[in-house]
Amino acid sequence: MSVVDPEILQDFLTESGELLEQFDQDLVLLESTPGDPELLNKVFRALHTIKGSASFLGLAELVSVAHASEDVLNLARRGELTLDRRIMDLLLDAVDVLRCHFDELENGRGLTTPDPALLEALGALSGGAPAPAQSETPAPEAALEAGGDDEASASDTGVRELELPENKLDLIDFMVADIEETLPSLQMFIDGLRDTEDRGAVGAEVGEICEALARSVEFFECAQMGTLIDCLSIAAENFDAVDEACMEQLAPRLQGAISVLTEQAEGLSKRKVIQYPINDLSGRIADLVLGHGVEPGAELPAGADAEAALAMDAVRGGDASDAPVEEENGTPASAPETSSPTGAAAPSAPVERAGREAPGGAPKVEQTIRIEVSRLETLLNLVGELVLQKNRVGALSRRVTDDDHVCADTREAMTQASSDLDRVTGDIQLAVMRARLQSLERLFGKYPRLIRDLSRKTEKKIRLEIEGAETEVDKSVIEELGDPLVHLLRNSADHGIETPEERLDAGKPEEGVIRLSAAQEGDCALVRIIDDGRGLPRERIVEKAIERGLTTADEAAHLSDREVFRFILAAGFSTAAAVSDLSGRGVGMDVVRTNIEKLKGTIDVDSVEGQGTTISIRIPLTVAIMPAMMVGVGDELYAIPLTNIVEIVRPGADEVSTIRGQKVMTLRDSVLPLVNLLDVFDAGGAGAQKASFAVVVEVNGQRLGMLVSCLVGQQEVVIKPLDEMLAQSKAVSGATVRDDGGVSLVVDIGRLVESVSGSEAGTVA
């Protein structure tokens, strides 16, 4: 497999990418519960799978890093090594290197050679002496996996003396016995594979055996055996996804692989390393497992046995010596894992694989399919159109119903049909939106590592608590939310949480807590970042705001805390005394605000000095389709997003007044700025209806009254962008098609509020 099929590579990237993310998260988790055997096994398995798949694809650089880290984890698993912070740092560095490799693969670039210092450091941990781990373990395997690389000893048959460091010599007999005991049971499972109904179960068994075997084989540093076992174990994971035709080809090859292993194990008992040209065999197993079939000419006849397979794949020159089969020996004593999927804290591997959206090749492959995002996008757009057409039919039906000339039966039927259409459309819309929903888990999962790194860097003690990660939001939301959350968490860790000494002085526990919580609130997702740090210094912020001309001292005295805290969202606003490499440049919060606004979301800052800061982000569950209130402004209709509307009132003349040029209205005991949409939209022509209703809207905690001429009613609108020619229209965020087929503009509440509060800052006390 010298040239990697891009499809296989993509599968690998997706699958292993997910595993790597999980690995990263679990490592961080492991740091707080060092020695947790379940978790250790899980991280080990994840890495092992990544390594296995990578060696299939001949990614030598990647394998070498994975291998070195795996050795370290293996020791930790056996209790021979405690994962302290230093080791964790190394392992996490290795994760970063792997991630970097994945990026390179994705962009079609060559892999960079990993930093030898890292490999050496990892090797030093596992091998005792740095030299063997670095030069022996990764290198032979890498050379083998490079495939087609003819200097590799793997490609030809040969026997060499087994060379092992002295400290291992004592154990050879024990390990050989272990391998020889395990192989027959493996053989038994594979033999029965073709006739078994429940291949998934067999796969699980085989997978476990392989894992035990892999560890024993690693001991001998025999790359070929490792490769074959990796082959088997990856095949085992996919047994139930392989179709009959492939299985016909696969089973003999697996048997062949086992027979090769058996012979090699025999060789080991005599201190010999037996090499076979196994590249074809392992390559074809990989192809079969991934459902690609074998290349023409390599098919085996039906009912072929192990020897036929070995002959076909040129492992052996056709001399049909019987594969020695010993009597079965029960399951290996070292079966490592209870595969109970109901681990409460840390889900075990099967759950984790099945739970992700669509892990190709995982056992439950039939239940999920991968879809290109663009297709979902198209579907969503079409649903948008459907909603508009439904609205039109609804409007027509209302007209028919009001028409006395139409007979009663027809009217009723029309109403019925229209309401059925309404319901079905609603269901479709929901279903399509659901298809685009993703849980926040994937996003939130990245942050423990972030906080860990930050707490190391700042020498603070910080604990991150995550709640409600299962909350689902639209895919686009996940994409846009990532950066803002990183900024906010950084802020909390860097500025919010105090140093341990300061905290103790303030009578707080030494360890600071940042809580990241998510929940669904109506048709919004509410994401909160709550820290128990020092809180926002109102006075400092006011000072800065005055300095930057955002407010005046007079005004500031009247501002509520929330209004003051809003200043930190302004571009370039920073109260940090010095810019650190974490934050303080004042760029962060502006990015946060911009991204959240892009999602039509709102952000709210609340803080009590000395006790902590809470930042609340509300984001509508979907961006494209939303309910809106249609209002008349002059003789045009406009749409106002319903999520922003707080209430609608008819203000009396005594409730409207003017303060320094800005119209305001009194609403119960608060005073709101008031704008007349007739003026904003220059719709106050002769004979235009007088504005009599005030729609009170709220964005980012700021309220505003908008005077409109009349109210039409609620309607679902699909927001469409306006041509660039019209981009200069300030208070309009897009257009939508009404139920009567006409076009209405959607009021951009955010910009309207901003423009009013902007001018207000200069004029209103």
Binding site: A395, L722, G742
Partner: protein
């Protein structure tokens, strides 16, 4: 708000399209004010009767508003305003010509659509610096027919965003 009951009927312009050899230009001609203009037939998507327009506040003066073209919302420009002519009442002959320019779909209002015609490239001359108060910038040529003059418009220049701004300035300056 009234519902536009006449579904935007498309007057076909495509029926005469045959293989256009390179020496020939196939054009759609229309009248704005006193002048007769023509554009390449291939850039025309459709020609619609007048329909209800939604005004967009703070938009450039020549933008009459937006229309719903089968679910797509497109801006409509009044060519009279665009050319600095006096605006006049819409008549039954007024049409919205929908064109695709540089990937954008834009409509413009004309007084009436004349015909689809084919002329030889040879009778097209470079534009004079000024034609009846219209800036020559967006005129790609002038076709001299036996009995009349045809002004060939360059749609890309006519509807390119930056030119729009520039033209606004020249208009307000004059």
């Amino acid at each position: 708000m009234t519902t536009p009951t006449t579904s935007a009927s498309t007057e076909t312009t495509g029926e005469e399209i045959t293989s256009v050899d390179s020496a020939q230009l196939q054009l759609v001609s229309f009248v704005v004010g006193q002048e007769e203009f023509a554009i390449d037939i291939l850039s025309v998507q459709e020609i619609n009767r007048m329909m209800e327009l939604t005004r967009v506040p703070q938009s450039p003066p020549e933008v009459e508003g937006v229309i719903n073209l089968r679910g797509r919302i497109i801006p409509v420009v009044d060519l009279r305003t665009r050319f600095g002519m006096e605006s006049c009442e819409r008549t039954g002959q007024s049409r919205i010509v929908v064109v695709e320019v540089l990937g954008r779909v834009v409509g413009f209002i004309v007084d009436r659509v004349n015909e689809v015609l084919r002329i030889s490239r040879q009778i097209v001359e470079a534009p004079p610096s000024m034609i009846a108060s219209i800036d020559s910038e967006y005129i790609s040529g002038v076709g001299k027919l036996e009995d009349r003059l045809l002004i060939l418009l360059d749609l890309e220049k006519l509807f390119a965003g930056d030119v729009l701004g520039a033209i606004d300035e020249t208009q307000s300056g004059s």
